[in-house]
């Protein structure tokens, strides 16, 4: 799986991410440092969630309602 190294704009933490996830363009990265979510710095925008997850039905990306305190 190809990877990208994305820096969190809020806390500066380093995030190792599947490049396919970044290629979608609308899917947010979950920061390992602050548990906040942010969009990748760049994206080709040429892939879909279904394509990246190899799913056979439409997929919605789920995020927790609130940033965990832990």
């Amino acid at each position: 799986m190809r990877m990208r190294d994305e820096e969190c704009p809020d806390c500066g933490a380093r995030n190792i991410v599947d490049s396919g996830m970044c290629d979608i363009g609308t899917v947010r990265i979950r920061c390992v440092g602050c548990a906040g979510y942010f969009l990748p710095s760049t994206s080709s925008g040429n892939r879909t969630v279904e394509n990246v997850t190899n799913a056979g039905v439409p997929i919605t990306v789920w995020e927790p309602a609130a940033r965990p305190s832990t």
């Binding site: 190792i16 599947d18 396919g20 990265i29 979950r30 990246v52 997929i59 919605t60």
Partner: protein, 460 residues
């Protein structure tokens, strides 16, 4: 009756080298894995952390056990084998695995001594662990139980599960059986009921890694490895539609949601790299059940505990290779980076057998992508000997085969796309009928005739 984690600790702990840490530890602050890393450097052993903070930071009543597979000796005790070599261990594993034992339904369910459901579920009360630097968050390494179609029983899968909120976890699922079962349900618009086992006898956990045909009940494989039928009870959420192991320590019941994925990861993986953050399956939790004084069994990911826990896959390689080519002697894999590269030794009787055996081990395991085949004079557990054979018995134009378009493993950092890799077979055996040059070595008779101890030798 011996089928529980606590019975293994009581009966085999001493033989396995089990130690206890009774100081209060915080697994979210790397305190547990920092200690495990130092223990691995000095004297690897299973470790029971008896006082552990939960994810909410409070001292909890869930303890943690790691390193059940940290040494060959410890793995041996899981299969009732005292000491022994890897060779003996693999043979014991295969002997056990052949004796499938159907599970039995029992009335007594220690794992359901405590139950929380619905809005009362609070995953923060559990002792999640942050394992290695850059891990995406709090993790468990559970065994996921699901139901197979056509009355084929239960599927077991070893997964990584990351805390998302009080009743959700992100779960990495490799594209194998559990992935297929979920996809089938998802295509019908259904969630997949599952139960995550957070601690059982270590043999139960090994069963989840066995390369078993879809029509075989993996509860029966667990019974085979345990040496007695697995006791099971209806889950609290799904009743008899999803049975759970009665003697487990903790079970998280829920559904892998249809049409949902979540950002999950990174996580330190068996290839000794971080597996990246990716879009993974989402578990919505319906109930958590546990027994008195529960012990959560975790895997020390990326370290010996994790690598040795692949013994089921290793033994599966041996069985597959022997089925294809009875002249196969042994199969090993390089422990440096997970079971991606296997070495087969054989008493070759026909050219072409090495490729046949290589394909047999490569077919059932999506982790494996490189196979080296050697003659039986080579010790497959000695990497230096194996590379000697590769260096001296291989001609690249005739002895190396590249297999394109092979399904690989998502966590292989060299992989392209969702699951595409390339296979490699190196035939390092002598050609059939070739005159083998004698190894350059001093005659044994001379060694016996001129023992070093009979001579006066001094430094200069």
């Amino acid at each position: 009756m011996k089928q529980s984690l606590r019975s293994w600790m009581a009966d085999s702990g001493k033989e396995a080298g089990l130690r206890r840490v009774n100081d209060l530890v915080n697994p979210m602050g790397y305190e547990v894995t920092a200690l495990l890393a130092q223990i691995e450097e000095s004297d690897p052993a299973p470790v029971h952390f008896t006082a552990v903070r939960s994810l909410d930071g409070r001292p909890g009543n869930f303890s943690l056990l790691f390193n059940a597979y940290a040494t060959r000796q410890a793995v041996g005790t899981v299969l009732d084998l005292t000491a022994g070599s890897w060779r003996e261990l693999l043979e014991r594993y295969l002997d056990r695995e052949r004796e499938l034992r159907d599970p039995v339904v029992v009335a007594d369910a220690p794992v359901q001594q405590h139950v929380v459901t619905g809005a009362d579920v609070r995953l923060e009360a559990l002792p999640f662990v942050r394992h290695v630097e850059h891990d995406g968050g709090p993790y468990f390494t559970p065994i996921t139980v699901s139901r197979k179609p056509n009355g084929w029983g239960h599927n077991l899968s070893w997964n990584r599960a990351m805390y998302l909120d009080r009743d959700h976890m992100g779960v990495h699922v490799s594209p194998r059986q559990l992935w297929g079962l979920h996809r089938e349900a998802e295509n019908d618009g259904r969630d997949l009921p599952v139960a995550m086992v957070l601690g059982h006898h270590p043999a139960f956990h090994l069963a989840s890694a066995a390369r078993t045909p879809l029509e075989v009940d993996e509860f029966a494989v667990a019974g085979a490895l345990l040496g007695e039928p697995l006791e099971m009870v209806p889950s609290r959420t799904f009743g008899a539609d999803l049975m759970v192991p009665a003697q487990a320590e903790v079970v998280v019941e829920g559904r892998l949601l249809a049409g949902r994925r979540a950002a999950e990861g990174p996580f330190g993986e068996f290839m000794r790299y971080l597996g990246p953050q990716k879009l993974s399956h989402v578990l919505e939790v319906d109930a958590v059940t546990w027994r008195d004084d529960p012990v959560v069994l975790g895997i020390f990911t990326g370290y010996a505990d994790h690598l040795n826990a692949h013994v089921s896959i290793h033994a599966g390689h041996l069985a597959a290779a022997r089925t294809a080519v009875p002249q196969v002697e042994q199969v090993a894999w390089f422990r440096g980076g997970g079971p991606t590269t296997a070495v087969i030794s054989m008493r070759k009787t026909a050219d072409g057998q090495p490729m046949r055996a290589a394909m047999a081990v490569m077919a059932p395991a999506n982790t494996l992508k490189q196979v080296i085949v050697v003659d039986d004079d080579i010790d497959v557990f000695d990497a230096q000997e194996v590379m000697w054979a590769v260096s001296t018995r291989v001609r690249a134009d005739v002895d190396i085969a590249v297999l394109p378009n092979l399904q690989g493993h998502l966590l292989d950092p060299s992989q392209q796309g969702y699951a595409g890799t390339t296979g490699l077979v190196i035939d390092a055996t002598w050609p059939q009928g070739a005159v083998r040059p004698p190894t350059a070595r001093v005659p044994d008779a001379a060694i016996a005739e001129f023992p070093l101890g009979s001579y006066r030798m001094e430094g200069v």
